[in-house]
Subunit: 334 residues, 2 copies
């Protein structure tokens, strides 16, 4: 049995969507059991199935708009997030899932779960849809605003193991996000990373422009935590604003209204395709225990996807595979 | 008469779209005359109206995929871009418009047209659509990958004059692109820029996240040339990929096809809204003479828009207004 801890109070619609997502996961995945961390009475309002689901009562909740994550993680010891992380660090669970506020998750990951031995800078790595390769692992989405090239190479190495084991990609390719495709483009940082990735032994493709973010030539896209965060938020924002513009335009005029109704089913399919809920939870690469961080706005289906990813990471022994490579004779990225 | 120089050979569809755009501008704008720089015989194939349009014959063309822009600008002295820039620097024209390759344009701007006195780092500033404010000036789109905060403040100041005079905005507001809205977010660079903008006397709003790129709370969005370039290309790429996904989805099934046909007019309006062609040419802020750079993929309507912007910049005396502010007792950004 794969033991998953779920922070049931983290997320814009917690604990309802978290509890419903957990029940969905239990129904669809046979080899997991889930422990829900949160206010028992609130969780029980939505929990209709206690098979392979336990509750650990926690009185506190780290709010979604938390401005002082370091203080929150250190002081709110009875919060659902801190208790779920702590129990996972103590190996009561194999993996932990949360939709809580990103910065608190990143701080909690470092302070409570700790870095994997030899892994210098853990990275936040969500998965985004790709028209060319199905799914793209994109990192670092903001765990470290600035990194060194050797640290970025380690992150890329984790992404390769993850893409292979969890996403089933053969010989996953790595692209460096940059302002142009030619070698030599970008800042000193991009040029140093280019060389380091070339020498890493990874399947390095070269530079990839952000105009290809949804149709990249690679399985993995990487940059520093500031840049990737700016780019991913821009992609999400553009998709959202375009949805609004599209709706306004499709509804204009009589024929437009009829047309929009007739193609509603297709439009809904389109919306689902660009919906962040459809995206499996992101993972923090490089911790002692695996941690999946899903969108704060996740609804039950997105929580289910995150739990499914969590199970897969454990089943495929991703963390140990990276850890072994780190401790082997050929250290990663060096 | 406003005298505009147009690099008729720069652009993916040159000179056809450039010549047709020029004719469209002459037809719609009374107080301009245009000089087309390029291969005379190729231009004359498309030119059906010589009223207020002259040709200066140039034998060379800087190709769109130019990899060595510094060498190209220095050696291709008989190219349409170099000759149009040179004549504008010599004040034969009031403004120059090109759809040529961006890096060559940026190099040519520095080497031939030169920086405005006291202006430290010219910036590339396109205009993008905005659901909240109609149009957003976004900079620096790649003229300088890295800048100092005082240089960024000068660029913001130019953007304010431009937004006021050319786009007709009252008291234009400035937003700093960042990974979060709270003060203190981002790298050291963002924090230093935040303080410098606060002290600049400009209408500084604070940080703006890239998820709001198409619905910003401000008239102007600013960051360094690396970051803004990554973000703008991401926005364009996301819009393009979403268009593809939408088309695939709308055309599925019988009712989908009927629906798509019925709402074709509305879909076309939507496409027009997100089409970079609809966007007026970007400008390089901070040169001795104004320079408008439109998309390489511009078609005649986009060339017309760029020429209209060029005329407006001259009519409103934007460059002199910024120059006077720079030379006045209250130097910009200091």
């Amino acid at each position: 049995m794969i033991k998953i801890a779920l922070d049931a109070m983290g997320g814009d619609f917690a604990p309802k969507e978290q509890v419903e997502g957990a029940m969905l996961a239990i129904k669809n995945i046979d080899d997991i059991e889930i422990t829900l961390y949160g206010r028992k009475e609130e969780i029980e309002k939505y929990l209709k199935n206690s098979e392979r689901i336990n509750i650990v009562d926690c009185r506190d909740v780290i709010p979604m708009g938390e401005h002082n994550p370091v203080h929150a993680i250190r002081s709110m010891t009875d919060s659902s997030m801190v208790k779920a992380f702590r129990a996972t660090a103590d190996k009561e669970h194999d993996v932990v899932v949360t939709c809580g506020p990103t910065q608190a998750v990143v701080v909690g990951a470092h302070v409570i779960i700790h870095r994997m031995e030899g892994f210098r800078r853990p990275a936040l790595a969500p998965i985004i849809p790709s028209l060319t390769t199905g799914q793209t692992v994109i990192l670092d989405c903001g765990a470290n605003l600035e990194v060194r090239p050797d640290q970025l190479v380690q992150q890329a190495q984790y992404a390769v193991v993850y893409s292979k084991e969890v996403l089933g990609k053969e010989n996953p390719s790595v692209g460096l996000l940059n302002i142009g495709t030619e070698e030599g483009k970008g800042r000193d940082f991009e040029n140093e990373c280019y060389k380091a990735l070339q020498e890493s032994g990874l399947n390095f493709y070269g530079n990839v422009e952000t105009k290809d973010i949804l149709e990249p030539p690679t399985d993995i896209l990487i940059s520093d935590g500031f840049t990737t965060n700016m780019v991913v938020k821009c992609m999400e924002g553009t998709a959202k604003s375009m949805g609004k513009m599209l709706k306004q335009n499709l509804m204009r005029g009589f024929f437009g209204k009829i047309g929009a109704l007739l193609s509603k089913k297709n439009l809904d399919r389109f919306k689902k395709q660009i919906n962040p809920d459809e995206v499996a939870g992101g993972m923090i690469f490089g911790l002692k225990m695996p941690l999946i961080k899903a969108h704060g706005s996740s609804q039950s289906y997105a929580v289910f996807c995150a739990l499914r990813t969590a199970a897969s990471v454990v089943r495929k022994d991703v963390n140990n595979k990276v850890q072994q490579a780190l401790l082997s004779e050929k250290p990663l990225g060096e």
